[in-house]
Every structure is written in C-alpha cells, then in structure tokens.
Subunit: 311 residues, 2 copies
C-alpha cells in the first residue's frame, strides 16, 4: 500500500514509518519539523520506498498537492502538538496543530477519495475521572487540557467525515507513550535533570501522580496489527500497557538505571504536575485484549527500557 | 449585567436579546449578518441599553476589540452555521462558523477575564442513536454531520477553557428549534412550498423522520432561568419539549393551519431527509425537569404555533 504518515518525523510517527517500510509498503512522510526532526528519519533516506515532504498540515493547498502527487490509500495522522504542558499557556497551538491538522487532512481525504485513516488520540479526552476505570464507553468526556479538547474535537470530526464519506477510521486512545526518540515528558525530564545534578531531583507535584506508560514499540505493533479494520465508520480502542507507574517510582527507576544512589527528591507540591495535568488514571484495555492483542512490556518495564535507551 | 450575545441578530439570538433587555440588562449584540438579519433586531435599535457590532466572530482581533470596549460580564454564544443540510457539502463552513467562533470567543474570554458563558449546543452531538433515549450521560457520542462534529468539538473546548480559566459555562443541547424569525428547516420549507403550490407537497425522505421540536420562546425562557449556574466548570442540560413530531404530521399541521385540503404528498424516499440527517430520536429531559423547568408547548404545539406565526 501507499501510506501517508502525517507527522512522520515525530516520536511515534518515525517509529511507524520504520514498521510500515519493514512490512514492504511505500511510505510518504509529511512533517513541518517543528517537533519532528530530520534525525528521526535520517536512517530511512536511502530507502527507495520512502519519501519526505516538508509540509505544514495546517495549510490545505500544500497538503492537497501531496495527496494529488502521491495518491495515498491510507493516511496515518500523527500530527499534533504533543507537549500538553507547553500548550497550557497557548491554546492556539492546539487549535492549529492538533485540531486544524485533522480538519485539513480529512478535507484532503474527502477531496481525493482516500478511505482509510488511522488517528492517534489520547487518554486526555476523558478528562479528570480519577476514580473511574476508563473504557471506550465511559460517558461524560470532559477534557481539562486544550490538548485533550482538540483531540476530542478531532475524534468528532472523524466521526462525521467517516459517516459522510464512507471512510474506515481506526482511532487509538493512548496514555503516555515513551521509548527511543522521546522529546519531552517526565522520564525525559528526570534523565536530563539528573545529568545536570546527580544528587538532587526536583519532582513536579506531590510525586503521587500515577499513570500507565506504554512503550512505543508496543504501540506501533498495535497500529500495524489493527490498521485494516474493514469496518465502515470509526473503530475505537484504548491502547495501554499493564499497570500504572507513580512519578516517585519513575524517579527511583531512573536513578537505579543511571546508577545513582542517595539522590535527594524535592517536590513542588500539588496533585498534578501542572494545570491541565490529570494526576492519576486507570485504563481499561479489555477491548483490545479481547481482540487478541496486549502490550509486551508493563508500564514499569516501559519506563525502565526507556531510561536504558535514552542514557 | 453587561451581556454579549454573539450571533445576536440570528433566529434564537435575537429572541434572547429581547429577553435580556426585558430583564433590564445591557446587551451588546455581535453578528456578521450572514444568517442573522437587521430585521430581527430593528425593533431594538432605539433601546439605549442595546448596541450592535457588525463583527465576524471568526476574526480574533475584531472580536477582542469589542471585548475591550464593552467589558461584558456574560457571553451568550449563539454564533454558528445553523443550516446542517447546507454544510453537508461544505464542511469548511462548520470549521469556520461553528468551531472557530467558539475558539475565538473562548480566547477573548480568557484574555479579558470573562467568566460566564452560555453555549447553544445540539442534539446532533449524539449522532444516530435512534433506539436510545438520549440523556446527558449517553456515551459514545458519534456525530454524523459536520455541524454535530463542530458543536461537540466546541463543547470539548468549553470543558478545557472553563477548567483552565475558572469559568462557569452553561451548555444546552437542544433539538430543532422553531418559532418566529425561523430561516430554514422542515416547517419553514413546507410553508414556502405550499405557498408556491397549494395542491402538492414534496417531502424529503419517507416522511417517518420523527424528532422533538421546541418553541423558541420556551428555549429562551430556559436560558434566562438557568443562566446563573453558580457552578464552576460546565453545567449541561438537554432542553426539549414533550413528545416528538413526525414529518408527515408536520405536513398535516401546516396544511390544516394554512387551510389547505386534499394536498397530495410525494416522498423522495429514504430514511433521512439528507445525508447527515438523524432520522429519528427521542430526548430525555428529566434532568432539567428535576431542576424545576419544563417547556410550555409540546412538540406538536410548537409546530402549530410556528405555522401560525409564519403564515
């Protein structure tokens, strides 16, 4: 197939390009290189089945030119602002990079008759429902971050576009994704802070924030496994790993893997790491388990493996 | 209070301006006069507590100027494309007029510290769940129209902005609203068609589409009653009238009220009036009833009253 990966030079997107190429597909990567990097895809440059466009997916005309030229039969949409903390003071970033990208991609698909879509959604669409085991049928979705809002809005667009244009869309809602090529987030931050000061670690919040972390290779494995839904409309899965990992536990794992003893932790206090952060949640992945898939690494193992890969 | 009504020259917005002025408030109306009309508000022109700006709420700078000048303490957001059938072939209309208006209004509120919002949402956010009694906790919202998608995306934005900026937002999801100053929809169409040809009426679909219709005066009464939520975050209600009215029943009521006998009906066929139309749904209004409010007119009475007011 001819796959178009929007955000293909990003953290998850670049791993997906690797997997799609490995399966024998032609892969066209679009990225504006704001968060994605050329380094993430430089090892693919010589692959004749791989092509890159430096294109901003918020701009319809440029995006449509790629569709016209490349005639993809599957679009993997991973273009978004992925730094929730950063957009807390700039909601317009989510309007543009998370919502508008989705609208323009769907508009191009509609225009060019492309029927298959994968969309990277997020646990942030649920909002702060800390005492609920979150499954795909959880009601009352109430995002507390601009990122979660733009992703939920994107899901709504996909629902309407797929109905109106007979598309088949696969939506994965995933929690924190970690692994090689990570660009931000708690694991990334702890490694960098401890490199600068191996005796002291400042931890945002009270350290009791507890979330599931999924290893990027597991996530990409799930995308590859389920990408051909053969179902009209939207097919939705929560995709996560077993268990959750607390922030202080992450600090312990990072210190251990970096061989650091007696590191002093200090906490900035408060429940969440920042405003808009959901401090803890639990994720029900029964649906995707019932479909025969589960993550190889637990949440704790994902953290451990990520530290090993990034130090 | 100083109320800012965005979309204040529209069908529902102009009735809301009337009610807010009657209660003694200062009312600033913003409209781009694309669907709203000067005729809808001409009777208010001499009221010293009423002011109109011809401003497009999709443009941040113009909108912010009005906020800076007028310093509203409550925003009523009724600016949207309201013609779902028309936007079926132009999704960009919903992106711009329904979603972007919401984003820009929220951005201005955030910038200027305005904390109170009313938002006009819709039953279209639920999608086609014809066998479910739709209540506020119904899960799996899956809009089938671009309009419903843009409204659900707007609700998601309001959820995040209200959390991040300590706003109080009242959201009403309402079904078809009818009454004086109506600009489109089945009742409006039937009257116009029968004026042109009093012997024959073409009905879109199979005539069995059945929905609740609420009279605009009832809806505005509910807005006025619940506008001061005094609850942080989002307060959400389904707002509807008793019962549902089938399309063939609407035809009968219109013919009867227009004094027409022996009108021949022909049906274009199919379940919905057009693609993206939810052919039938039932609406649970228990929550707002429990809060002490119910519509004065049933769905059938709303249709009857609307025909009398429009012929």
């Amino acid at each position: 197939m001819r796959a178009l990966v929007v955000g293909g030079a990003g953290f998850i997107g670049s791993h997906l390009c690797d997997a799609l190429l490995k399966e024998g597909n032609h892969v066209v990567c679009i990225d504006n290189f704001s968060l994605g990097t050329k380094k993430n895809i430089e090892h693919l440059e010589k692959n004749s089945r791989f092509k890159v466009y430096e294109t901003d997916a918020t701009e319809l005309s440029g995006l449509c030119r790629v569709f016209a030229e490349e005639r993809p039969d599957y679009v993997f949409h991973l273009a978004a602002n992925s730094d929730i903390q950063a957009s807390g003071s700039k909601p317009e970033v989510e309007y543009k990079n998370t919502y508008t990208t989705t609208f323009q991609i769907l508009s191009c698909m509609r225009e060019h008759g492309v029927k298959k879509l994968f969309f990277a959604s997020t646990s942030a669409v649920y909002g702060d429902k800390r005492d609920v085991l979150l499954d795909e049928d959880t009601a009352g979705l109430a995002p507390i971050s601009y990122y979660g809002a733009a992703k939920l809005g994107s899901e709504a667009l996909i629902s309407a576009f797929s109905y109106m244009n007979d598309m088949e869309a696969l939506i994965f809602r995933f929690p924190n994704v970690i692994g090689p090529r990570l660009t931000h987030g708690v694991v990334f931050d702890f490694i960098n802070k401890l490199r600068k000061d191996p005796k002291h670690l400042e931890i945002l919040g009270d350290g009791r924030q507890t979330k599931p972390y999924i290893y990027v290779a597991d996530l990409v494995d799930a995308i590859m496994r389920f990408k051909d839904t053969r179902q009209p409309g939207v097919t939705l899965y929560n995709v996560g790993a077993e268990g959750e990992t607390g922030v202080t536990r992450i600090a312990d794992i990072v210190c251990e893997e970096m061989g650091l003893d007696h590191v002093r932790y200090s906490y900035t206090g408060g429940e969440g790491g920042w405003k808009g952060d959901v401090p803890r949640f639990r994720y029900c992945t029964d649906k995707i388990h019932a479909a025969g898939w589960s993550a190889k690494l637990t949440s704790d193992e994902a953290v451990q493996r990520t530290v090993r890969n990034n130090i």
